[in-house]
């Protein structure tokens, strides 16, 4: 007797996990004396009720698409890259250096330059943990975690001592030249006649993130390298037997992952802040884990999950503005999503499988 159909595994399991996570968060909101229904209403209207809200939702979603794809490409090679934040931080540095020190004539060139810089810096930061894992057997989870912290210290040093303009107090770089400003999503949609608010940070990076999702999908399922990555992730021994080099695949997968994390900076650093801030990543590296788990490690799922988390993020800030519920409720919800989809999959999956088996038996009889 076969187990459950594919649609149930791909759609139903994440959905049930999400419902459970929402349920517990609702209990939490109720327990602190607030109305969960009202909270959800505020979140929905605040993030999806206007094109202004949608703009923020999509802006956050763009960040999560990059980091989620980054986590998932490493996951496919069965490497748990916990360090999305490190390459994303370094990607920010790359974008800032490119925007600050190269006199770009046009935003499109500046964007291309930033993308190259972000990918190069992100991939370079992921190289050492990858190399240590491949060659020296150092556990990738611990090394990437350590490299996250090292990247914070490095960024702190660079911003406080080197990139901070003379006479400024806050640890941030100078503003980028106006020419590097990216086109807003509202401006782009106006070209095709769709009215969309421009008072939000959503920008052209969203389209690049979507293109990256397609690119990752094509890479993983339609190229030799993608096959090698997935084969290595399924079974290292079998991959080795098939002549796939574990060292090369580990390095490629991690550096691709680092490059994607780094790309987040074109959205957050160049697209929104227009300067390099101390904490430009703001936890997006970790949300990438939740997004990758929720999206079942598939680029299409990751796009959907990113938009969901973008909604949660924007909804959370609306909650903090409109009620006395702090936005950290979203952190709890995110933790529960990670817990149920990533750490407790059997709790949902196994009973569901049993249910399907019984259902199928009933029909066959």
């Amino acid at each position: 007797m076969d187990k459950m159909p594919r649609w149930a595994d791909v759609v139903l399991v994440p959905l049930i996990c999400l419902v459970i996570a929402f349920f517990f968060s609702g209990i939490l909101i109720w327990a602190i004396g607030q109305s969960p229904v009202e909270a959800l209403t505020i979140m929905v209207t605040g993030s999806l009720g206007s094109t202004y809200g949608w703009g923020y939702t999509l802006f956050y979603a763009t960040n999560f698409m990059f980091t989620g794809l980054a986590v998932s490409i490493a996951f496919q090679a069965s490497l748990f890259n916990i360090g999305g934040a490190g390459p994303a931080t370094l990607g920010g540095l790359g974008v800032a250096l490119s925007c600050l020190f190269i006199p770009w004539p046009h935003w499109s060139l500046a964007l291309a330059g930033s993308m190259v810089a972000a990918m190069a810096f992100g991939a370079a930061w992921a190289f050492l943990p990858a190399w240590l894992q491949a060659k020296r057997g150092s556990h990738i989870v611990i090394t990437t975690m350590m490299f996250n912290f090292i990247s914070y210290a490095l960024m702190n040093y660079l911003l406080v001592n080197i990139l901070r303009p003379v006479g400024k107090m806050d640890p941030a770089s100078a503003r980028f030249d106006e020419v590097t400003n990216l086109p807003q999503l509202g401006d782009i949609l106006a070209l095709v006649g769709i009215p969309f608010s421009t008072r939000n940070p959503a920008n052209i990076s969203l389209l690049i993130a979507l293109a990256c999702a397609v690119g990752v999908w094509a890479l993983l399922w339609h190229t030799r390298l993608g096959f090698a990555i997935r084969a290595f992730g399924k079974s290292e021994k079998a991959a080795l037997y098939a002549g796939i080099s574990p060292v090369r695949i580990t390095l490629y997968a991690m550096m691709l992952s680092g490059a994607l994390s780094g790309m987040m900076a074109i959205n957050s650093v160049q697209g929104e802040a227009n300067r390099l801030l101390l904490n430009s990543v703001e936890g997006a590296g970790f949300i990438g884990i939740a997004v990758a788990l929720m999206g079942r490690n598939h680029p299409f799922g990751i796009v959907i999950a990113s938009i969901l988390f973008g909604f949660l993020y924007q909804g959370g800030s609306q909650l903090a503005l409109g009620t006395t519920i702090p936005r950290e409720v979203i952190v709890v919800l995110q933790a529960l999503v990670i817990l149920f989809t990533g750490a407790l999959p059997y709790m949902v999956q196994k009973p569901l499988e049993r249910l399907f088996v019984r259902f199928n038996q009933g029909r066959a009889a």
């Binding site: 939490l28 602190i32 004396g33 748990f80 916990i82 050492l128 240590l132 020296r136 057997g137 150092s138 556990h139 989870v141 611990i142 090394t143 975690m145 350590m146 490299f147 912290f149 090292i150 210290a153 490095l154 702190n156 040093y157 406080v160 001592n161 970790f286 884990i289 788990l293 006395t324 519920i325 702090p326 950290e328 409720v329 979203i330 952190v331 709890v332 919800l333 995110q334 933790a335 529960l336 990670i338 817990l339 990533g342 750490a343 407790l344 999959p345 059997y346 709790m347």
Partner: protein, 317 residues
């Protein structure tokens, strides 16, 4: 450097190492039993919050301590459930526990105390006494060396005693032998008729208690009250210390004191001018992580984790 500031640095090294020692030993039990735990940070944080909240509500530091331990145990139970019973991914479970603590402490704190996520300042009996040993002997104005040795809160000494106790428990008792065995080869332990699940839950439980003490120390001895994100990465530093110590109790103490010293130096001196060039404070702050990566890379002796670490145990059928 003059004598007084040298003593000051030693003094703050001891204070800053204490939570690391608790958390590092906490990780030692869990990981030696084959359950990876990157959720030390979260357990410390939730314990710090629960301890401070309960101490403020009841006015007793001891009830606060119990509450801290209870909260950390609850989180340890989630980790145990995910990684032992449901055979989930232990690393992902750890990540989620860190987030859960980070969010929950602020949400509950803001709702209960209306101070944006922190507890009101703790005073008097709501905190651990600064120097109970000196009070006991009626010393009011100790000389600096006596103060350095005897002038600490009670949990400092508990942490120090936990080190030889853990070494004894892990290496000199039957429980310790089994606990270490279950982290290396659970199938052998199972064959011998000892419950793998039971041992791992026991280890995760000890981890919870020790994380609880680490958190209680943070909010009721090191500080006077809970601040949001007050553990500030100490759980990760403790994890780094555990790897640095190659999962051995006495080395845990040394690693934690070293990392505590780095912390104390970074707080005391912003940047250190050693004549040739200036060591920036950020370098001192990053040094524990850099040292851990070097150790992990195996250039200075290899750090080999317990063999069965990270893998849920499935009985052969």
């Amino acid at each position: 450097m003059e004598w007084a500031s040298f003593l000051q640095i030693l003094e703050s090294t001891i204070r800053l190492s204490t939570p690391l020692v608790f958390a590092c030993l906490a990780g030692l039990y869990s990981e030696r039993a084959g359950v990876f735990d990157i959720g030390l940070e979260g357990k410390m944080l939730v314990a710090a919050f629960a301890a401070a909240a309960a101490a403020f509500a009841t006015g007793s530091v001891w009830i606060g301590t119990l509450a801290g331990i209870g909260a950390a145990l609850l989180f340890a139970a989630i980790h145990g459930l995910a990684s032992i019973t449901f055979r989930g991914n232990q690393l992902i479970s750890g990540v989620s526990i860190n987030f859960l603590a980070s969010g929950l402490t602020v949400v509950l704190g803001a709702a209960w105390f209306r101070l944006g996520g922190q507890t009101p300042p703790l005073t008097g009996d709501m905190r651990f006494a600064d120097a109970p040993l000196l009070d006991l002997f009626g010393i009011t104005d100790p000389n600096p060396v006596i103060g350095l040795i005897f002038g600490h809160s009670v949990l400092v000494y508990v942490a120090l005693l936990m080190v030889p106790f853990s070494a004894w428990l892990l290496y000199r008792t039957r429980f310790g032998l089994r606990l270490r065995a279950v982290g290396e080869n659970p199938a052998a332990v199972d064959t011998a008729g000892v419950s793998v699940v039971g041992l791992r839950y026991a280890a995760v439980g000890i981890t919870g208690v020790l994380c609880g003490l680490a958190g209680a120390y943070m909010s009721m001895a090191l500080s006077a009250g809970f601040l949001r994100e007050m553990t500030a990465g100490r759980g990760y530093i403790a994890l780094a210390a555990l790897i640095f110590a190659k999962w051995r109790p006495w080395y845990c103490l040394m690693a934690c004191v070293l990392f505590g010293l780095l912390d104390a130096v970074a707080i005391r001196f912003q940047s250190i001018d050693i004549g040739v060039f200036i060591i920036p404070v950020q370098f001192t702050q990053a040094l524990p992580y850099i040292l851990t990566v070097i150790i992990l890379a195996g250039f200075v002796g290899k750090a080999i984790p317990p063999r069965a670490g990270g893998e849920p145990y499935v009985k052969e059928r």
